[in-house]
Symmetry: C2
Subunit: 195 residues, 2 copies
């Protein structure tokens, strides 16, 4: 399983937003929506071996943690608006623990710390970072988890927490890319290795 954890530093944590203004009023949830697209979509297919965790950390109820599993997910389309509708639906689900919102989409109040702690038990951690080792020449484990920021880098505290799990820093090229483009590049590298 390939996993991606994306930090939505200001991403809205209530369903109180309009699908017509995803860029302006959602704390840049639009970035996370594009990450969902690049994590899962192949030409006429969905990647079943991918899981993405969106950490929504903005107001009013942080954290909200959305997990999407490629093996189970249904009703996922490549456009931003329909994915936003699925996330909004997830944010409406009341309850405790991790709740299934629609097939393959789960919501919880798990902290970033808890998410990483759980993932690190079965997965090697990678930190996508401009100062890292080139992904093309790096050794990559069979069950990798890639952690990345939205339009903001990880905070010092977030980085410190990640460091507990001895992540390898990986760079994707000589310039800095949008988060969704990073995921496309990582997926391609793993496809080439058939991992």
């Amino acid at each position: 399983m390939r996993r991606f954890v994306i930090m939505g530093h200001r991403a809205i944590t209530s369903a109180d937003f309009k699908l017509d203004d995803l860029c302006g009023s959602t704390g840049r949830l639009d970035i996370l929506l594009r990450c969902v697209n690049s994590a899962f979509f192949l030409s006429h297919d969905i990647r079943k071996d991918v899981e993405i965790v969106l950490m929504l950390l903005g107001e009013p109820n942080p954290p909200k943690t959305i997990r999407i599993n490629g093996r189970e997910v249904k009703y996922l389309n490549p456009d931003e608006r329909s994915t936003a509708a699925l996330i909004r639906n997830a944010l409406l689900q009341k309850g405790e623990g991790e709740r299934r919102c629609s097939p393959g989409i789960y919501v919880s109040e798990r902290s970033y710390e808890e998410v990483l702690s759980n993932l690190s038990k079965e997965s090697k951690m990678y930190y996508l970072h401009e100062q890292g080792e080139d992904v093309r020449s790096a050794q990559l484990a069979g069950d990798p988890t890639f952690v990345l920021g939205d339009d903001q880098d990880l905070t010092e505290v977030e980085e410190e927490i990640l460091m507990r799990y001895d992540p390898k820093r990986l760079s994707l090229g000589p310039i800095s890319y949008h988060a969704d483009h990073c995921i496309t590049l990582v997926n391609n590298e793993l496809d080439r290795r058939r991992q």
Copy 2:
């Protein structure tokens, strides 16, 4: 200059569509919108050395040819909806020849044949195709133009026209990707060769 030509086989050629239903009622214009994002956006920057040509070939007035130049473009945001608004505005422009719709965005009725004929004078043509040479090991010219389909491959006729310009076929990996993901991968390969 890097150039991308994308065939929007069914993409709508009037401004008569709703920004709320980009996926359903526009002949998959949404695919082309995502291509614009991956062609131009860098983290906190826009690629000035990129030009994209969107061939809108659907009803009711094909072709409509939208050209976006990274050196000149303004008011471009990464989300689908705002790019769709710019394209819709372009489709409203009446006139003859190529018209400037907003900074860096042009519309014309140029045919695919005319577009390729013009570009081939100053640019080496590449055909993104699963059966091509691996992009990572291929020789690439300084001013490349990459031609690709939307969710449909080039038609036989489109392919025949492209073949007149002796394109090199390039493959991006072992599986078939969405058009916007292809552009991200090509941009990354070219970024790496600059250094």
